[in-house]
């Protein structure tokens, strides 16, 4: 009639990967029983919260899609508390070109956007450790697996100012939606600029160059996973693919 899958992370937290009930058996208490039973099993493992997806090692969604209003009501009825909204974005990039004002920002700031290489690797990893320690592992793992080609850096002389990670389906965020988004799917993510160099257009230049790089590798759509920056990416043409209510249940 229904099922629920949760993924434990950080020792004492869990993420609800999916809860689904057969359409013919909804509104009969099946979903609530699944939440109650899941909570009991997780409490026995000293877990104290269940998120609506965020934190799972693999996930379908990182929150409750707002295009499913009954789902939000269901989770609220079961004492989940929602505290923010985030987005997955997408864009057809087959004809993408970087807006001129973005290029001007690159010139004005005297920066170069380039592929990571052996010479810049150490500085880039130091940059990650210093400014984005939570992302360091993702970069390291991707570099070990795929070499330097998936990382773009923003650099002024010897100083790394920002970086972004590229990926392509099936092994990319949103890759599980390739039946819907198409097989030529790319994604950019964990894009960051050092705090002292923000608001100068460097991040947008990184996003634009990453989009162009994915286009040049044959991607026709580009996915931006789990972001709050809808308007910011919108400057490059990205649009909301899905909006999510994010929250958790304390157990």
């Amino acid at each position: 009639m229904g099922f629920a899958v949760a993924d434990i992370f950080n020792d004492n937290e869990a993420a609800l990967v999916l809860l689904a009930v057969d359409s013919a058996r909804q509104r009969q208490g099946v979903g609530t029983k699944l939440i109650q039973e899941l909570s009991k099993l997780l409490q026995a493992r000293r877990i104290n919260s269940i998120s609506t997806g965020a934190g799972a090692s693999r996930l379908l969604w990182h929150g409750v899609p707002t295009s499913l209003p009954p789902a939000r009501s269901f989770f609220q009825k079961n004492k989940f508390i929602f505290n923010e909204i985030s987005y997955d974005l997408v864009q057809d990039i087959s004809q993408f070109t970087t807006p001129l004002e973005v290029l001007h920002a690159v010139d004005r700031n005297d920066i170069s956007i380039e592929d990571l290489n052996e010479k810049t690797l150490e500085a880039a990893l130091t940059f990650q450790s210093k400014h984005f320690p939570d992302w360091h592992g993702y970069f390291n793992e991707d570099i070990k697996r795929n070499g330097y080609g998936n990382v773009l850096i923003a650099r002024r002389k010897h100083e790394i100012l920002g970086s972004v990670l590229l990926s392509q389906a099936p092994e990319c965020p949103g890759g599980h939606w390739r039946d819907f988004l198409g097989p030529k799917l790319g994604a950019l993510g964990i894009l960051g600029v050092s705090p002292d160099h923000r608001e100068q257009g460097i991040g947008l230049a990184l996003a634009a160059c990453a989009t162009e790089a994915l286009r040049d590798r044959g991607a026709t759509k580009c996915f931006v996973h789990w972001t709050w920056l809808r308007e910011w990416y919108g400057k490059l043409g990205y649009e909301v693919w899905e909006e999510y209510d994010m929250g958790k249940l304390l157990i």
Partner: protein
């Protein structure tokens, strides 16, 4: 080994919950199709993989009614 627990609805009909695994893949996909596949088409293999149903990791807790 399946952990089977009996739970009871307000009425008299019982619902059982149990751990799910790859042998339940067809049923899991059928439930997805009954609800969500119109908006989010996905193959059975990709869905089962994304859910971690076939993962041996003990971090996954997977139950069905």
């Amino acid at each position: 080994m399946l952990a089977v627990m009996s739970l009871y609805l307000k009425g008299s009909r019982a619902m059982e919950t149990r751990q799910i695994s790859t042998v339940d893949s067809d049923q899991i996909f059928r439930i997805w199709e009954s609800n969500l596949s119109n908006k989010w088409p996905i193959s059975k293999e990709v869905l089962i993989s994304a859910l971690g149903v076939s993962s041996p990791s003990e971090n996954y807790v997977k139950i069905g009614v």
